[in-house]
Symmetry: C2
Subunit: 239 residues, 2 copies
Amino acid sequence: MPRFFTDSPAEDVIIVKGSDADHIRFSLRMKPGERITFCHGGMDHNCIIEKITEDEVICRVENISPTLSEPTVQLTVYQAYPKKDKLELIIQKTTELGVTRIVPFISSRCVARPDKASYEKKLPRLKKISEEAAKQSGRGIIPEITSLMTINEAIEDMKKNDLSLVCYENGGEKLSGISFSEKKNIGVMIGSEGGFERSETDRAINAGAVPIWLGERILRCETCPIAVTAIIMNLTGNM
Amino acid sequence: MPRFFTDSPAEDVIIVKGSDADHIRFSLRMKPGERITFCHGGMDHNCIIEKITEDEVICRVENISPTLSEPTVQLTVYQAYPKKDKLELIIQKTTELGVTRIVPFISSRCVARPDKASYEKKLPRLKKISEEAAKQSGRGIIPEITSLMTINEAIEDMKKNDLSLVCYENGGEKLSGISFSEKKNIGVMIGSEGGFERSETDRAINAGAVPIWLGERILRCETCPIAVTAIIMNLTGNM
């Protein structure tokens, strides 16, 4: 069944306008009587199309239920800004795998160092990638792509989590050794191409993050968040 | 320490010629007395450069030891041929994560369907990607990229494994429910964009493969092998 996200969920009637309405009318060529789902905040609004006008698609809500595909944990990936279009790959793949929030930040070894203004210009495109991947994979939310943070802001943000991890090439716990039980909000901090300075991981660890180690093979900075998200979803029973 | 793969390992002296010798001399600008590792079949040959001539780099082997980064399991990914350059991404990422062998095959829903000849033309490039990823991630072997198989050939090949899995969107065991103990040779079969025909998964299951299910989120065909490799490496204690 076609799935869309909506900003204006309702219990009775959902009215769709703009590009989603065009997509329903022209690309999907849907007709009154057909079924369609609108998702908001992890809740599926299962609808029947009631009427299609020139600029609106009017849908009657039949029932509302939690989106089955949403994981039971909220995972935030804190990603040191990588080069080229790697952040786009990270957003697409971790969205499919179940991430809730992606926080790009600048650390001292980042080679690509956009300022906040030029990052804000990129942000609509990054959000679009997240939305497309969320639609395609049947997610119940669109993962949030935050503003660009400094590493100190990211470490401060991590304090909100029940459990924070930092990938550390010089050693740490294996992911299998971490207890995820009762942990709902999980964060994991991952370096850019050059990894972290020792002082940076020390600061994260002092703020409560647990250093984790992914073994002897050196992963590229974009492979690490994808692998870690998959493994955490598996270890928490979400994959 | 710089790492290279060698086809001609030795216990005393390794002589390097061709592009690797050029790379050592001109890109890395290495000098006699510096340390370098040559890897063959999961064994590190740790060397000191003894002499550099116009076309050779002569290295004395100091000691030979198993490459620490090699996983304890041999994982073969059987991948239904995907569109565009997705196979390249799959090769690069699964190599970093520890795959031993990648078997591309044609199934009935493959959109991209190269014939064996045009695949053989692509193969040197695919092997190069595997070698580069193996070097970069510090692997002890270069994962093998096989010839293109039919799905029946791939299913036949899977019978060699101690444990074979097939990713099945309509349900199956969770990866966490699979017992990997004592399994050294593991295979996992993954569909292309359109997934598998029911008759294809039935044939794989009849040949002994266990259907596995990665949960409610629909993964793109290139995300699946990356996620599965990461999770299997984690579950077998290799990540």
